[in-house]
Symmetry: C2
Subunit: 247 residues, 2 copies
């Protein structure tokens, strides 16, 4: 039986502050929980309502049954999916330079962050570096948007400027999506390196701009007057362009 205090503790994990303090985060929904249980992350508890278990025939030895009301209290969703896991926040891995890597500069929107992680995994990216003011990846909305990809991606939060300075000094290619850059559709070759993505509101910020060694651009149709693409969309299109030259 789950206690009132445990329900309260899990409820508190909706806030960044308590996730940091307790070193725990929450995963909800069948698909995400299934992906979680197959990952290397340490799951400390799994809760599901009676109804969820009947509807989905979901079995796991760690599963504890909770009431609809308890689930509602713990869930971050208006319509709780009925299954919820508590997970230990893993230690940050070291940054590994392997293949192409993403660097995110101030991505604050959780949906964008999640979609970027999901799409990056699709195209085979293994490492993502985030500036310290990016949205926290253990945010429920980020987790939902990654559809499980988060559990298989190495995401590191760091001083982005320092990281890129070092990479540039070592001769790494630092790509950055800018208004005036090389047309990605005409690019024949990409070096292994780092693709920097800025936020929709601020773009790549002024402290990062001088560290871009390869400015790139997604060309817009001649008659189009749209000013920009969504940040995760731009990331996906650039990654697709890169991946298309890999094979």
């Amino acid at each position: 039986m789950i206690t009132k205090n445990t329900v309260k503790a899990i409820q508190s994990l909706k806030q960044t502050k308590y996730r940091k303090e307790l070193g725990l985060f929450v995963v909800e929904g069948r698909k995400s929980v299934e992906e979680l249980l197959q990952s290397s992350l340490e799951t400390t508890a799994v809760y599901a309502t009676e109804r969820f278990q009947q509807e989905h025939g979901f079995h796991d030895e760690r599963l504890e049954t909770v009431s609809e009301m308890q689930m509602e209290q713990m869930s971050s969703f208006d319509t709780p999916p009925g299954i919820l896991a508590v997970v230990r926040i893993p230690k940050q891995d070291n940054i590994q330079h392997e293949g192409m890597m993403l660097a995110l500069d101030g991505i604050a929107n959780p949906g964008n962050m999640g979609t970027i992680i999901r799409t990056a995994e699709w195209f085979g990216v293994k490492n993502i570096v985030c500036s310290e003011d990016c949205v926290e990846i253990w945010n429920p909305k980020v987790i939902q948007a990654t559809m499980g990809s988060l559990f298989r991606m190495n995401v590191v939060s760091t001083d982005l400027e320092g990281f890129l300075k070092e990479a540039k000094d070592k001769g790494k290619a630092v790509y950055g999506a800018l208004l005036e850059g090389e047309n990605i559709f005409k690019k024949d070759k990409w070096e292994d390196g780092i693709i920097v993505i800025g936020s929709e509101s601020h773009g790549i910020r002024s402290n990062i701009l001088p560290l871009i060694t390869h400015p790139i651009t997604i060309p817009r149709a001649k008659n189009s007057i749209t000013e920009s693409l969504n940040a995760s969309m731009a990331t996906g299109i650039i990654l697709a362009s890169w991946a298309s030259k890999l094979s």
Copy 2:
């Protein structure tokens, strides 16, 4: 002075039912309202708070000042942007076959719908056909995600199966994103035609599948186990691939 009844009427436009009954929809936020006023749509009223006008120096002869509380009542957002326009829902244009066109099969998520419209405009698409069960495009979340592109796109809701049957009979290329199709990265040529996009939960539905003349696929990295891409992301990547062969 805005009347109580007008505030109530605008408030009702948060619901599809009243948008249909009154033939009106609401646009909020500085950028979207600016794009609206430059478009050919018929704006019937523009309201802004005192604070918004001071902060943004926004001028328009049609502008009426409303109180913060009135704005909160009318706004669909938790944090109202402070400016709001009421617009007449335009008559559906005829479907025009011009260049490449999108056909959306059951896209229910407003964020996805909006991002698809925005990205389609970036790449020069002028016409989008939606199945009748797609999310209504005058939904505030769709409008927000299009960032003004909606006002420049011809979006038509229709019997998608009938439309695609006719197109196929006329010899049009009907592309569809499927798991087993031609690798879009290896495609050298695209014909002008229609790209069909299904929803994330159902894909392209069984009544539409036989109408696809050109199955296409976004290839996934060999070691990736992600099952799918977000529907708007898949659309953007396909459109980018098509656009890259245009020039």
